[in-house]
């Protein structure tokens, strides 16, 4: 497709389970971002990739969160031993260049609910 694709759209996990969220960015986009959006809040930065290199992971809340983009296209955000406070929408975004954000293209997000 033409846009950023995320899967699954909805995920319900029991506390303590591991989850993996996938992002397919727009083909050819160099930059890829993960954001976390709690209910009623703006998105908060988690991590940034330039091609396969993870240049910034300062927004990851804990060492239970891990992201990768091994071939510079598809990315996976993994959350280990999920907690209730991890419940949120996880947004992936991509942009063409390596410079200023410019026009970030967001996916529709993966809504995670931890019971």
């Amino acid at each position: 497709g033409a846009g950023v694709s995320q899967s699954p759209r909805y995920k319900v996990a029991k506390r303590g389970q591991d989850v993996a969220l996938r992002c397919d960015p727009i083909s050819g986009h160099v930059s890829l971002f993960w954001y976390q959006q709690a209910l009623g809040q703006g998105p908060e930065f988690l991590t940034y990739f330039q091609n396969e290199a993870q240049l910034d992971k300062s927004g990851l809340p804990s060492d239970r969160f891990f992201a990768e983009r091994p071939e510079g296209s598809v990315s996976t955000l993994k959350i280990q031993r999920t907690q209730q406070e991890d419940s949120a929408v996880y947004l992936c975004a991509s942009s063409l260049g390596q410079g200023p954000p410019g026009e970030l293209f967001f996916g529709e997000g993966s809504r995670l609910t931890v019971l």
């Binding site: 950023v4 930059s31 971002f33 954001y35 209910l39 009623g40 809040q41 703006g42 998105p43 908060e44 930065f45 940034y48 910034d56 419940s87 947004l91 975004a93 410079g99 200023p100 954000p101 410019g102 026009e103 970030l104 293209f105 967001f106 996916g107 529709e108 997000g109």
Partner: protein
């Protein structure tokens, strides 16, 4: 259970009216600003951006105004339509970062037909 209250600032307008959505940003070193529109169940969608060396920029039916003195950003939507109903976020980029955006809380715009 999960609260359904968004506790967002809200703006309700009549179809055809002009809308003004305001945003106070936090960092005087921010040099780039973007407005996003987010419809329910979707990701944010780029509307318009502005750099700190400008104070006004116009797009199709939208205008962004930047007042660096008071760290204030506004989005004006002309002839608001029901399809404009959404949550609107401003985002700022700190001058020290080439890529990281910080989003504001958002404003819920409701357009009444």
């Amino acid at each position: 259970g999960e609260s359904v209250g968004l506790h967002l600032p809200t703006l309700s307008v009549q179809e055809g009216d002009n809308s003004i959505i305001n945003c106070a940003y936090s960092n005087s070193a921010s040099d780039y600003f973007i407005w996003y529109k987010q419809e329910s169940g979707k990701g944010p969608q780029f509307i318009i951006d502005i750099r700190s060396n400008m104070d006004k920029r116009q797009g199709q039916r939208v205008t962004v105004l930047l007042n660096k003195t008071v760290k204030h950003l506004s989005l004006q939507i002309a002839a608001t339509q029901p399809g404009d109903s959404a949550v609107y976020f401003c985002a700022e980029r700190y001058g020290g970062s080439n890529y990281k955006l910080t989003f504001g809380k958002g404003t819920l715009l409701t357009v009444n037909p």
